[in-house]
């Protein structure tokens, strides 16, 4: 790709924003433009998730944007965090737009909560029913009590645990290595919802089981807020002398059963096809050993070991040893989720995952490591490599 991310903007993360999603979106977009050194009227493209409640038209009307030449939507929510950047980049490279804003606003804690089944069930004749039939909806899985992503992830987790023959203690320590390390990062991060709460491995082990084998500290934090980022051509970023981070490669990947989650691809212990990493690294002309820091979308902690193996940062079945020996920590071979991740900074549908990669490459992370390149992924479904400009 020949584009750069030149601006980041966000509201505070909270449990109750006290304002509308439209208002939050406006605050984040204005902050991102200010960070980029651009004016509101410079925006000529928008990308968003189909799950976002704030439409492109709402943004145009609210901001009085004179001319929106391109808008694109990527399906679902965080699954496409890197896909949205790929789409913005493609639009810029095709000449459809020159300055694209990717935004997300949600009251995910004070509003409709993704972690609860209310979202998909309604009452009919005294029964709770699932209404999602076509395209293959969850009418085939909801009756078994499989309702929310946190339960889907438990099925991935158990498939992994049994495939590699981990004992319950080994499995607990592996995911504890994710949750505790990330909490320590969050303790340094003023943006993190859990900045003030420490977490030890003993605390983690004592955590209550939500859906076995996952416990409470394996889950992300439903969060209110908004984020936005500004994407322009690399050429324009250089001409502006912007605080740019270059998009070296970005892409999307769906294969049979991989999306939606309740369909389940053949290998439940892996979330990306073998070639996904090769394709992505090939586009960037890099290999996993060239990556300095990784931001892995961690709706649950289980996403971290699977992504590390799927993209070849470590070998299959090596996650336990890597994560229990601090491989993901500040002095490890590959620092991971240095903002605290969705587990401890807040669940922002991947925009905060991308933002932390951008901050690392700008030298602005609260847990700065020496980084020239950063890797980002969500279940292999959308992935990206960024480089210091």
């Amino acid at each position: 790709m020949k584009t750069s991310i030149i601006g980041l903007g966000q509201t505070e993360f909270s449990k109750n924003s006290g304002r509308s999603e439209l208002r939050l979106a406006m605050e984040a977009i204005l902050a991102a433009l200010a960070d980029a050194g651009l004016e509101v009227n410079d925006i000529d493209g928008l990308v968003r998730y189909t799950w976002d409640n704030t439409s492109e038209a709402a943004v145009v009307n609210a901001l009085g944007l004179p001319s929106l030449k391109y808008y694109g939507e990527t399906e679902f929510g965080g699954v496409n965090c890197c896909g949205a950047v790929a789409q913005a980049s493609a639009a810029i490279e095709a000449g459809l737009a020159s300055c694209v804003v990717f935004y997300r606003a949600l009251n995910a804690r004070s509003g409709v909560r993704l972690g609860r089944g209310e979202r998909i069930l309604t009452e009919q004749n005294g029964h709770w029913v699932s209404n999602e039939g076509e395209p293959p909806g969850d009418i085939y899985s909801a009756p078994f009590g499989l309702l929310v992503p946190g339960q889907h992830h438990a099925l991935y987790a158990m498939a992994y645990k049994e495939r590699y023959g981990l004992t319950s203690d080994q499995f607990t320590d592996m995911l504890g290595g994710v949750a505790v390390t990330q909490r320590t990062y969050a303790n340094n991060n003023p943006r993190a919802l859990l900045q003030d709460k420490t977490l030890t491995l003993d605390d983690y082990r004592a955590g209550r089981i939500i859906t076995e084998p996952l416990r409470v500290y394996d889950y992300c934090l439903e969060t209110d807020g908004a984020m936005a980022m500004v994407i322009v051509s690399r050429e324009r970023a250089r001409a502006m002398n912007a605080k740019a981070v270059d998009v070296l490669a970005a892409g999307q990947y769906i294969f049979p059963g991989s999306v939606p989650m309740y369909l389940y691809a053949k290998r439940a212990w892996s979330l990306a096809p073998e070639e996904a990493g090769e394709v992505l690294f090939g586009k960037a002309g890099l290999s996993p050993k060239d990556i300095d820091v990784a931001q892995i979308y961690d709706a649950t902690s289980m996403m971290v070991p699977i992504a590390l193996e799927d993209f070849g940062f470590i070998g299959r079945g090596e996650a336990h040893d890597f994560l229990t020996s601090g491989g993901n920590g500040p002095t490890g071979a590959l620092p991971v989720n240095t903002h605290g991740g969705l587990l401890s900074e807040g669940y922002f549908h991947g925009l905060n995952t991308i933002a932390e990669a951008v901050r690392q490459l700008r030298g602005e992370s609260p847990n700065q490591v020496a980084a020239e390149t950063a890797f980002i992924t969500l279940r292999g479904a959308s992935s990206m490599i960024l480089g210091r400009a």
Binding site: R116, F144, G145, A159, T211
Partner: protein, 134 residues
Amino acid sequence: MTVIRPADRYLDQPYWQHLAKGTLHLNCCNDCGGAHHPPSPICPTCRSFNTGWKPASGKATLASYAIARHSVHPSLGDKVPYIITLVDLEEGVRLVSGIPEGMEVDLHVGMALECKVVQFDDRFALPYFVPVGA
């Protein structure tokens, strides 16, 4: 016993009608013979629209499972803990399933399972998979 179910209009579809009569049928291709799930108007193997239904053998292996201990919906409050399973059928399709309420089982990935259709009323039944001989 109350259970989450598909909205009423779906219960007239063949998948649910067959279950209500006591058997799990799979959507299959009349040209290449392959089965697929969820039901679809086109065969994902040979892309034929000539699809139909055939009874499943009921033989499956356990691909994964999880034990829900925290209720994520008011209707599940008195059901936790309950077991959710991911099963691979002999026909090559994968289903989300579970263990019937109250059944004690010892599960491990790869174990052999068999289908047990549980009837909730004359229009609605679900395909559970239980350890062979349980």
